[in-house]
């Protein structure tokens, strides 16, 4: 079974039940393969099922629906206009560049997927319309790009990757039926089998098995799933969500005696799993089928994904409010001095009241549009957030002085690069009894170099104070609309507490707590172990921060720069 054949099968399934299955995450760059897949998807959709495209810059008025301005003015009464979501009812909505979807849009799509209804409470209108749609997320992210919204991706049954499919692999879709094996014998308890398989594959969310169950039912025409359908559903739905390569022992343990004895009155009598002594049980075969399509090295990927810090989501704090440059984020009421006047939205807000205001006003001229201050709408803009790399440098006596020199070298190299990228750099040093901001976030290369040259060394290691200061600075950076990256250079051997007193145990515990709160902030971190030999304490610290750990026993500035580059 080739990847392309599976992709085509996914297209047919998604087209057959758009809302029930949620849709597909398609990981692929723009190109002929993706176009061919989308064409196959369009062919698979029946005429009654629309296929619409959603631009990332869509406004709420267009997405959810709102007041139809020309019709309202013409009719003299409010006329509602359906939004894109309602127009796509029954079909599929294609979202290009899904990895750049804003959290607000992702949440609106997720809510529509959950409810199958779009509720509009805007512009003086309150109504709901059916929007039983599925979503095709075109993920064009590469390498280190943030993944598509996990909450949204989890709702879609299928995740496919077309990036490894060559043009030569493309075969025209055969007119195959949906069903894999419509005549087979139904499985005793497909729900239990799929749950066990999901657990063996390390799938935490319950939507994996739930959606797999739906796919299996769809494959068998709505009846209880057959074995072949269960295996196919597991391969299509569960395999891409796997976070671990299953071992058969685990599945054995899982399938042993854990058949739940629940009092659900509707339940079929609990049946035993595949009889022992008849070769591998169904869930073992199912896991095997999934394992066959898992990419090699999945475990390594999973570990990496698990150890990667939470990507800072572009939330409210990241948007410089009322700034006048960048991407527009929609209109809101306000005076033009707080933003740029949005003429169309202002007219839209004023339109419904015209007749009323004419009645009140003294002037008989009926063609003048009466706009009041409360009608004014302004547009807000969101700026692309720039990265600010915060170096927290351990300048204590235990971090040997030559390493401090190396750290300075790395920062200088990064400065040169940051200058071309318009990124900013800040340097914190901690030594003796506290932390000191050596260099506030800056792009000024000359100033940065000067302050670094004067960086002193020696004294104890107040690690917790250093991390606290880094967290504070990261917060400040984020408030200003930037994306902070904290790089800690230390040997992890804390010996000064927050209050400035000596004490190794207390200082170590405080440092771990400070690291954990840094993680809680969702700041991306990287810890570079500057000790002569990799230190266990430094590794634990990196873990607590949720950041990457990079032991550089003999760090040179070039290697360090490369490490920072990949962390960003």
């Amino acid at each position: 079974m080739t990847a392309w054949a599976d992709a085509l099968r996914v297209a047919r399934l998604a087209a057959a039940d758009p809302h029930g299955l949620g849709g597909v995450v398609v990981h692929a760059g723009a190109g002929p393969v993706r176009d061919a897949w989308l064409a196959a998807l369009r062919d698979a959709l029946t005429a009654a099922r629309p296929l619409r495209r959603m631009p990332g810059s869509i406004t709420d008025a267009r997405l959810l629906g709102g007041l139809d301005l020309p019709a309202t003015l013409a009719a003299g009464r409010p006329v509602a206009e359906a939004g894109l979501l309602a127009e796509t009812d029954g079909g599929l909505l294609v979202v290009p560049m899904a990895e750049r979807l804003s959290p607000g849009l992702a949440a609106r799509l997720a809510a529509t997927l959950d409810d199958g209804i779009v509720r509009v409470e805007r512009d003086g209108l309150g109504e709901s319309r059916p929007a039983r749609l599925g979503v095709i997320l075109l993920d064009e992210g590469q390498g280190d790009d943030a993944p598509v919204s996990p909450a949204l991706a989890d709702r879609l049954a299928f995740h496919i990757d077309l990036s490894d499919i060559a043009l030569g692999d493309l075969t025209p879709p055969e007119a195959a039926s949906l069903g894999e094996d419509e005549s087979g014998k139904p499985v005793a308890d497909a729900a239990a089998v799929l749950c066990q398989a999901a657990q063996a594959l390390g799938i935490a969310s319950l939507r994996g098995p739930l959606l797999a169950m739906r796919v299996a039912r769809l494959l068998t025409g709505g009846r209880d799933p057959t074995e072949a359908a269960s295996i196919l559903a597991a391969r299509l739905v569960l395999a891409p969500r796997a976070t671990q390569t299953p071992t058969l022992d685990e599945t054995d343990a899982a399938s042993d005696d854990s058949s739940p004895e629940t009092p659900a009155p509707d339940e079929r009598a609990p049946e035993t799993e595949a009889a022992p002594g008849e070769g591998p049980s169904l869930e073992q075969r199912l896991v095997e089928a999934v394992r066959a399509v898992l990419p090699p090295g999945l475990l390594a990927q999973g570990l990496e994904a698990g150890s990667r810090p939470r990507q800072p989501r572009p939330g409210k704090a990241g948007i410089a409010a009322a700034s006048r440059t960048g991407r527009p984020t929609g209109a809101r009421a306000g005076a033009p001095r707080h933003g740029r006047l949005d003429l169309i939205e202002t007219l839209r807000a004023a339109a419904p009241w015209q007749r009323l205001r004419r009645g009140e006003g003294a002037t008989p001229d009926s063609r003048r549009i009466r706009i009041r201050p409360e009608d004014l709408r302004i547009t807000r803009f969101a700026q692309r957030s720039e990265t600010t790399t915060i170096f927290a440098v351990d300048a204590s006596g235990s971090a040997a002085l030559e390493r401090l020199a190396e750290a300075k070298g790395a920062v200088e190299l990064l400065l040169a690069e940051a200058y071309t990228r318009r990124d900013r750099v800040a340097v914190l040093a901690f030594r003796g009894t506290g932390a000191e901001l050596i260099l506030p976030p800056t792009r000024a290369l000359a100033r940065a170099r000067r302050s670094l040259g004067a960086l002193p060394g020696g004294g104890g290691t107040p690690l917790a104070a250093g991390l606290d200061a880094a967290a504070d600075l990261a917060r400040t950076v984020r408030r200003g609309g930037g994306a902070p990256l904290v790089v800690v250079l230390t040997d992890g051997r804390a010996n000064v507490t927050r209050t400035g007193t000596a004490g190794r145990a207390q200082a170590g515990a405080e440092a771990l707590a400070a690291a954990a709160s840094l993680r809680g902030e969702g700041v991306r971190t990287l810890l570079i172990d500057t000790a002569a030999r990799p230190q266990e304490s430094a590794r634990r610290l990196a873990e607590a921060m949720g950041g990457r750990y990079l032991p550089l026993p003999y760090a040179d500035a070039g290697a360090m720069r490369d490490a920072v580059r990949t962390a960003r």
Binding site: R108, V120, G126, R355
Partner: protein, 383 residues
């Protein structure tokens, strides 16, 4: 000139709004919710997953039941990933609540048994108010909702067609005496959240916009959901919610299988599924009715009050809201369980939900707030 029978005149409040008299005389109230447009679907989906069929999530279910017994506890905040059954639970609960008596035709569904909370129109009504039984409302606040629809605004249709100033009640009016559910509280605009919390605390919605000026009752249980991963909530906002519960995806296999199985059965044949759980839902409904009747007679003994105070002191919660909520929720829990008195046991069990979101951040203590409450409970309430 009244368009149809469902719109009525509502006299303004004489004391607070003298300036309007000259301007408009009376403010009319439109009631569009009663006459949905033909191209729309009803607000509540007809098919509801039974409350009693929800697997696990005991803490959330208990918190919702407590809020249903005593709405004065001040709302429920549910933390956790979307799709862990939050929205299902609130809809399921509303479906099993006993219907309430409301004044016929009142856009706020006024309660005839509470004369103090009547809307101005019902208060000024001459003679006996006609009442009927209506289901408890559950109102969704959808993402992208604008302020005019939340608090209510000038009725566009009548303004355009007739040049009349009429008030069209918003979501707050519809939620009166029921539940207002906000998914993803942290994605809602700050000014909307402030407004909602203010109304939820006072029970009155004050409208001052577009030349309208009026007040109407808006008592509802605010149920908010949020995902801490998507951004933290402000402490002032957290503190306003009575209970905070955490929901997680179940990790043990039997529970997971059970969830998938029931969902599959429900999707396969929802009628049969609902019928199978009708008796269990009925049992919960009866228990709720009993608990509501039992609640007024339950007094909290001094020893329990003192224990609650000591617990809050030990945790260093700000203000009196923590103690008050702890006391009220413990009483509602006792009522639900048909207990004779409110004891330490009730306090201990409800303390995590009532207090975990009121703790000050302690940078030195990184153990979760749930663990901190548990620790304090073990120390303070030890027999």
């Amino acid at each position: 000139m009244i368009v149809n029978g469902s719109t009525r005149a509502m006299s303004r409040e004489p004391a607070s709004l003298p300036h309007l008299t000259a301007q408009i005389g009376t403010i009319r109230v439109s009631d569009r919710a009663k006459s949905p447009r033909p191209d729309t679907v009803p607000h509540s989906a007809p098919s509801v997953f039974p409350f009693s069929a929800i697997v696990g999530q005991d803490e959330m279910r208990q918190a919702l039941l407590i809020a249903a017994v005593d709405p004065s506890v001040g709302g429920v905040l549910v933390f956790g990933d979307r799709g862990t059954g939050k929205s299902t639970a609130i809809r399921g609960l509303a479906a099993l609540l006993p219907p309430m008596r409301a004044v016929v035709g009142c856009p706020y569904a006024c309660d005839p048994a509470r004369p103090g909370d009547l809307c101005p129109r019902c208060r000024d009504h001459a003679g006996a108010l006609e009442t009927h039984a209506v289901p408890v409302p559950v109102v969704d606040l959808p993402l992208g909702a604008t302020e005019d629809r939340v608090v209510g605004a000038l009725d566009l249709e009548r303004a355009l067609a007739h040049g009349q100033k009429a008030f069209e009640p918003g979501l707050l009016a519809r939620a009166n005496r029921g539940f207002l559910y906000i998914d993803e509280v942290n994605l809602l605009d700050d000014h909307l959240v402030d407004l909602l919390l203010d109304v939820a605390a006072s029970g009155v919605n004050t409208v001052e916009r577009e030349g309208l000026s009026l007040r109407h009752p808006a008592r509802f249980v605010l149920v908010g959901s949020g995902n801490p991963e998507e951004g933290e909530l402000r402490p002032q906002l957290l503190d306003r919610f009575g209970l905070a519960v955490e929901v997680t995806t179940p990790t043990d296999l039997p529970t997971r299988i059970d969830v998938v199985r029931r969902r599959d059965a429900y999707e396969h044949d929802s009628t049969a599924f609902r019928a199978a759980y009708a008796a269990a839902d009925e049992a919960i409904r009866e228990n709720l009715t009993r608990a509501r009747a039992h609640l007024p007679s339950l007094t909290v003994p001094d020893a329990t009050l003192e224990a609650a105070a000591r617990l809050c002191l030990a945790l260093g919660t700000d203000g009196l809201r923590g103690e008050l909520t702890l006391m009220r929720t413990a009483r509602a829990l006792a009522a639900l369980e048909g207990a004779e008195t409110v004891g330490r046991d009730h306090l201990a069990r409800i303390a995590p939900a009532a207090l975990r979101h009121r703790l000050r951040r302690n940078p030195l203590d990184e153990s979760g707030s749930t663990a901190r409450v548990a620790r304090a409970v073990a120390e303070v309430l030890a027999p």
